[in-house]
Symmetry: C2
Subunit: 313 residues, 2 copies
């Protein structure tokens, strides 16, 4: 089994995880989560999004978070933006990396915005120009990259066409996101290999929702195809926007545990990651889709031997 | 990604799933589950166990289940046995396949039983002889085959030595069970390949507990190594005997869904499997570790296109 020696996890719990939580965390509470994941060894964190504060009030303090924590050395903090205004907010608070997003669903884009996903990406040229002026790096996300509620599957060519459009506007880091939780390992493997082959200069990320229990297998398949960058979310917070009550993102602590067990280095300490997850669960105040929070680490299962009979010499 | 075209799932919900449930299902209720999984296309079902009715009262009606359902054509019904008495009970009610079990933990076996796992298997010779007399097939399980609470990892050689012992007493079907939920995909891949190479005449099954969220990835890894037989449990019932509150077996409906999405034929209809899971959840009367019960099938997510703007011609 060919696996990478090292992978990078981006903690998205503070953005994708918290954006739909009923309990709104304070900036200080979010800051304590940031500190804990940093101490656990995480080096890439999605802090929030520069979008309408009315639409997503949970993310209203993204600027404050960047002002207070965005300067930590050795860290990459990123935020989601939707337009030029978002990039300008990012620049104003010292954010060094923004992430744009387009849906891979042609049908949805055409019906909703009257343009193809590639045309949507073309319009990001202005955002990219402003970001360049401010020396802000840009990442491009493709949501519903494997399936959408309006298509059973997104054809590979559609995904590649969007990645190409991103390249044309200067975006060399692309995230394939299984927003609808419809990806399966064989598809992930195929898209991952094809993407790397078609655009070797692109840095690929993968973002799996665990809606139908396949996210961990999808991560395995992506790693076998050479992927080394994954979004994960503490406690498994987040969720499928299409199915209320479905499971959320794949949990950071579960990924750190499984990858560690295979000798794949995430740079993260599983005990400290689990501590961070425990603390975040207290803050959101409800059970979450984390296995490790329920079962603990394998190594902590180790017990004293039972001594019903004497051991033979 | 090399995957088998076809795999066989053994439904273990009625045994591994129900044996620790507080609510004891009646024989008629269990019968309705059996009928539903048969209608869903399942052809191998673990109906119960012929063990002490005092110790495991939930399994006390195993004989009755075999009398009433064990004769269904085209089906393989099996039951767990621990000793000769169990095999005799199996013979008396028409059970055609029994499963023996030994723990892979040398430390635990030595401390608890004062013998090695292989010596435990040697003692199964009597059970196997009685089974042969009654023309009952025998399967051998190796619990904690990947890790145990007394060892971090079970060495591959230990597992192979037990499989060899099973062969010596005439058992050619062996199940590697991750009872403690400590397996990871790379280990599963390695053990699966090595087992097939060392004992090509052995038919291998795999039984994964999802305690730490790795079960689906373990199934993927096993399939990549050539495995085609897996135990699964409706609703994900069951659980790690060492950690109360941990997640249970990997859910049948989730496996049927993911494998179906990859074109791997389980012989099972995902809708009928999900129906069976829904019915069983009502019977056990609590939420379970099933993703599909929460999110539904990917295909059922497909929606009408939004029509905010006119589609271009």
């Amino acid at each position: 089994m060919q696996l990478p020696k090292k992978v990078i996890l981006c903690e998205v719990g503070l953005r994708d995880g918290l954006q739909n939580e009923k309990t709104h965390l304070t900036t200080a509470q979010k800051g304590s989560v940031v500190r804990q994941v940093m101490e656990a060894g995480c080096r890439v964190v999605e802090l929030g999004s520069f979008v309408s504060q009315k639409a997503v009030p949970q993310m209203a303090d993204t600027d404050a978070l960047f002002t207070q924590y965005g300067g930590a050395p050795g860290m990459e903090f990123r935020a989601l933006v939707a337009n030029q205004k978002g990039v300008e907010r990012a620049a104003a608070c010292g954010c060094r990396k923004v992430k744009l997003n387009v849906s891979a669903s042609r049908a949805h884009n055409l019906a909703n915005l009257n343009m193809t996903p590639e045309e949507s990406v073309n319009r990001f040229a202005d955002c990219c120009a402003i970001a360049k002026d401010h020396r802000i790096a840009v990442s491009g996300s493709i949501s519903m990259a494997f399936g959408s509620p309006w298509e059973t599957r997104i054809p590979l060519d559609d995904v590649l066409r969007i990645a190409e459009a991103y390249l044309r506007v200067g975006v060399k880091e692309v995230s394939l996101s299984d927003t609808s939780g419809m990806a399966v390992p064989s598809l992930v493997y195929e898209y991952c290999l094809a993407g790397e082959k078609a655009f070797p200069e692109t840095v690929w990320w993968f973002h799996f929702h665990n809606s139908r229990g396949a996210a961990m297998a999808n991560i395995l398949a992506a790693m076998e195809a050479g992927a080394t960058r994954f979004d994960t979310s503490l406690c498994g917070l987040g969720g499928c926007p299409f199915v209320p009550g479905a499971a959320g993102n794949i949990a950071t602590e579960d990924v750190v545990h499984m990858l560690g067990g295979m000798g794949v280095d995430t740079g993260m300490d599983v005990d400290r990651t689990l501590e961070a997850a425990r603390a975040l669960r207290v803050l959101v105040a409800h059970d979450t889709d984390s296995y490790l929070l329920r079962a603990g680490c394998s190594k902590d299962l180790i017990r004293e031997l039972p001594v019903k009979q004497t051991l033979p010499k």
